[in-house]
């Protein structure tokens, strides 16, 4: 890893860590008008359906009630979980993939966008093609883990150029001050990063409600705590464009 990339990664990490610590201090208090709710109550009802619920691994949620309803009625819902293909898979990815598999068993269609554009603009890879190669190398692992091919969709950002057009549309509902407070200066210090984080990443989640991806449907986004402010932003934009907030 180059020194420049190492410094960027450390800066990004330290900014994310600050956000995470702040959130953990105020876990269930109002954050920008939307309170993260404890998952404990819902978890009791879902015990026995998956070891993730049996082991109380999920800490908070927003509007999971609608997903719980779909699970109860054995109806479909969507789950999106992006993968930044900057390096090969490691053991840490297994926990997330196993959660996605469990959700698939409960009725979810899993969408895995490979954000090779993000890998490139963050300096983690030297080219889009390098990230593309890593993305494709992930697919056999997904099959080996047991993902149902009929209910698993992968998409590499740079191979789906419409995402950038959609990003322009969704990004028009975000301002740069919001991005600064969400990501910190280090993560939006180039025009590419501003466009990616303020537009493309939104498009990646919200485009799942387009007809091409099955139409409007509840979308679940499993994230770690530091991503919560970004989920709030996405929900805010969804409301503005009259889509279902994830």
């Amino acid at each position: 890893m180059s020194t420049k990339m190492k410094n960027q990664t450390e800066q990004e990490y330290s900014e994310k860590l600050k956000i995470k610590i702040e959130l953990e201090k105020n876990l269930y208090q109002k954050i920008d008008g939307s309170s993260l709710k404890s998952f404990e109550r819902i978890n009791k009802y879902l015990k026995g359906m998956s070891y993730f619920f049996d082991r109380n691994l999920i800490k908070g949620h927003l509007d999971f009630e609608s997903i719980a309803s779909l699970i109860a009625q054995k109806k479909n819902f969507k789950v999106i979980s992006g993968r930044n293909p900057s390096a090969p898979l490691h053991l840490g990815h297994l926990a997330l993939f196993r959660l996605l598999l469990e959700l698939q068993k409960l009725g979810a269609t899993i969408f895995i966008p490979f954000t090779n554009d993000e890998s490139f603009i963050d300096g983690k890879v030297d080219s889009f093609e390098s990230g593309l190669k890593t993305a494709y190398e992930t697919i056999p692992y997904l099959i080996a883990l047991g993902f149902d091919p009929e209910k698993t969709k992968v998409l590499v950002h740079t191979e789906y150029l419409d995402i950038y057009k959609l990003g322009m549309y969704f990004g028009s509902h975000v301002n740069t001050n919001q991005l600064k407070s969400l990501f910190g200066e280090g993560s939006i210090n180039t025009p590419s990063k501003v466009f990616y984080r303020g537009a493309v990443q939104l498009a990646s989640i919200l485009m799942l409600q387009l007809e091409e991806f099955g139409g409007s449907q509840n979308t679940l986004v499993p994230v770690s705590l530091d991503q919560h402010p970004y989920v709030l932003l996405t929900r805010d934009v969804a409301n503005k464009v009259k889509m279902t907030p994830p």
Binding site: R41, I42, K44, Y45, K47, G48, E65, A68, S69, I71, A72, Q73
Partner: protein
Amino acid sequence: METKHYIENFIESSIFSHEFNDFDQIQSLISKRLSKKNELKIVYGETYDEFGLTIDSLKYYFTLDILGKLLRSNGMDVKAILIIGDVASTRNKAAVNKKVSIDSRIKENLSKIRKIIGAYNLDIQVRLMSELFESNKYKQNFENVTSICLESDQIKQILENTVLQNRIKQERESEFLYSREEIALITDYNIKIGPPRELNYDNVARIISRRLGLPELISLYLEPTYPLGLNFDYFISNPQIEKYGITPYKGGSNKLNDHRLFLENLDKKNIENLLDKSSVPSDPTLPNPVGDIYIIADLARRMLENDFEFVPHPTTQIDTKVILNLFDKYVIQIL
């Protein structure tokens, strides 16, 4: 087994709510009364809507009777009273607006209650709220309660919490008349059996009893009543119903009448259908409407077989077919 243990085991069985009852305190208060061998008055009250008598009322009638019997077997002089809230039922604006004859519904319910008392040999007295309102004792209680309630902002705030949101305006206009009447009635009793939704009324009643120097009311809350035929997501989305249940004696509570069972229409196929569609949780702290039907059926069996030996905290994870057969044998065929 000593009959005192019968009472303890009964109170700690799955009929009574473990969330809303402080069993140590209740056992201690009952023990004190038992040692004094005074008269005890235990009460349960109902109001009605345009739907008929629900099977959930049976749970309360049987519990009222069993508690009375167990206390008498300990040498107490016990009166077990069922109060029919005829005045409160007809005063409700929603009932008036529906132009349904609540009066005739009350008469039908009374007739059914008498049939239930006869069929299960219940030793309970039925009193109409309108009759009780005429007594001098009640009138004095009502004056005392009114003066304390209206003088205290703290009590008024607590009374606000006793009222459903869709009735708050009506109740504020009447200065919480319904609540004051209810409290004035129950301060005359020693033990009150009711659904957890009545918690706030009872707390106010206790505050007032203390101020009037009366013995503290003991409240015994039964496990909440839950609607049948719904999946678990209903309770996730309705935390108030998850916690407090629906009103057991009002079939239209929360507009869930299609998910209730009524004594006038006990169709076995319909019951089986509702039981099959109900979600049964593995966690005993979660709503279990199917378990509640088992409790009602089992209580009905005990009434007919004079079996009042209860097991503390028994499991209610019973097969639906078993529950249905029990319910058929001891409730449908009897009524």
